[in-house]
């Protein structure tokens, strides 16, 4: 039983990062109805930028802020690279183009920063906290990860529900034609969606870097977990992405704890397959209400 609780607690901060990546995938899906497989590549690239800032200034907050800014810009650039040239064809072309962007980003990062894994210093201690006479599998840094994730999720929720920009973005996602007829510049909203997704992924990258290492391919596995969480959540649900992102983190932690870490991706894919068989629309999907 102690094991179970330890494994569960150990999964939360990892789950938070998966939730952020899943959120990024969902935001792109909501704007352009496609999966951006370059999302983790973008996060990897902006994390390298953060690493450079961290190494030269030692300021973690500054590194995080620069990564977010770079994520916004990179998200916009990828939108124009991928969506514009293939605008008149179907989205399949654009999805394949995102793989191209992923490979280009990984190659580019390898050329700039080298292919060797590098460490990213955490701003606070990464050692398990001692409390009530024992060491728990949760560190001060894990708490920081959860706090930053919670702040970002709350911020995004407020943006979407309380602001005019958020309302325009939701309208553009739900019904582009009615949105345009209401005066919303839908194309701009799509770009904004990709940009915010880029910034969200960037935060996820900076948060996960200190507990793994960073190399051009180090976030690839994160894509598997984030994609699973996003699909199970229904692909267009922000709540779904967060819930199942954290859920996936917990499942990974349990599987890794009881068996072996190398089994985690397999379990994720099994969950994904089961979800597609049993509830293909996802758990938090809007499709049910749309058919009314």
């Amino acid at each position: 039983m102690t094991n179970f609780i330890d494994f569960l607690l150990g999964g939360f901060s990892n789950g938070a990062v998966i939730a952020l990546m899943a959120l990024a995938l969902v935001m792109v899906w909501r704007s352009t109805r496609m999966v951006n497989f370059a999302q983790v590549g973008q996060a990897m690239f902006t994390t390298y930028i953060a690493l450079t800032i961290q190494q030269s200034t030692g300021n973690w907050l500054l590194a995080l802020a620069v990564a977010m800014g770079a994520g916004l810009i990179l998200g916009t650039i990828v939108f124009f690279l991928v969506i514009r040239p293939v605008k008149n064809s179907d989205t399949t072309g654009a999805i394949i183009a995102t793989f191209g962007v992923l490979i280009a980003l990984q190659a580019g990062a390898g050329m700039i920063w080298g292919g060797d894994p590098e460490g990213f210093l955490p701003p606070v201690s990464n050692a398990g906290l001692e409390f009530a006479g024992r060491i728990w599998p949760i560190s001060l840094y894990d708490i920081l990860v959860l706090a930053v994730t919670a702040a970002l999720v709350i911020g995004l929720t407020l943006l979407f529900t309380r602001t005019s920009l958020g309302l325009s973005m939701r309208a553009a996602a739900f019904n582009p034609e009615v949105a345009r007829l209401s005066g919303v510049r839908v194309n701009r909203m799509l770009i904004t969606g990709w940009a915010i997704a880029g910034a969200t992924g960037a935060v996820g990258g900076v948060l996960i870097a200190p507990v793994s290492t960073i190399s051009p391919n180090s976030f690839d596995i994160l894509l598997v977990f984030a994609f699973t969480a996003a699909v199970i959540g229904g692909l267009d649900s922000l709540i779904g992405a967060v819930t199942f992102g954290i859920g996936t983190g917990l499942v990974i932690s349990l599987v890794s704890g009881y068996t072996d870490a190398s089994n985690a991706p397999v379990v994720a894919l099994v969950l994904l397959a089961l979800n597609l068989l049993l509830k293909p629309d996802g758990v938090f999907s809007h499709h049910g209400s749309r058919s009314v």
Binding site: F174, V184, R185, S289
Partner: protein, 234 residues
Amino acid sequence: MLETVDLCVSYGAVKALNGMSLVVPRGEVTAVIGANGAGKSTLMRTLAGLVTLQSGQVLFDGVSVAGKKPEDIVRNGMALVPEGRSTIPELTIEENLRLGGLWRSKTDRGASKDLVFDLFPILGQRASMRADTLSGGERQQLAIGRALMSDPRCLLLDEPSLGLAPLIVTQILELVSRLATETNLAVLLVEQNAVTALRVATTGVVLNLGEVVKSGPAAEIASDEELRHAYLGY
């Protein structure tokens, strides 16, 4: 005032509008009637900027608006209530309305909202509920309300009677007609349901295969037996 001159629109080899000219004056309802496939919806979608016209002119208060984007056309004062489900069910009633005039100042929006709630009190009573909790007639009111939130000088209504009980249609259209007179609004109403449309309209226009067959005072069109048999099918 809205005016189209020699409007031509094609879908591939099919001519949906074939040299259509029409005038929609302010302060009254102009009804365009015709059977299925006469080009009514194409006309509306072209005016709103959703469909590209091939040739001809669209003049709005004397300025050409042909080829402009839908979002610019609505910001310029011409709002379309498209056919069918033109509200966003996932948003609340208040959000659907707010969406209609986001680019305007808060005070201007507030004034338009008061007008809409005055016109359709049910929307005010249920403002915080999701739009999919509304009945068909209420949702049509919401769609018109959303269009009114842009403070239009011209309102385009595409087949508002679709799927609604006749009594509700009459109620909604009478409200719109009163609004046109009171606020000097130009209303272009497109309908398959000719009887109801001609009852609230000042001018009637009969459309067939993309061309204007006849236009004149609505009462005159309504009583023209021959026209009715030939083009309206009743």
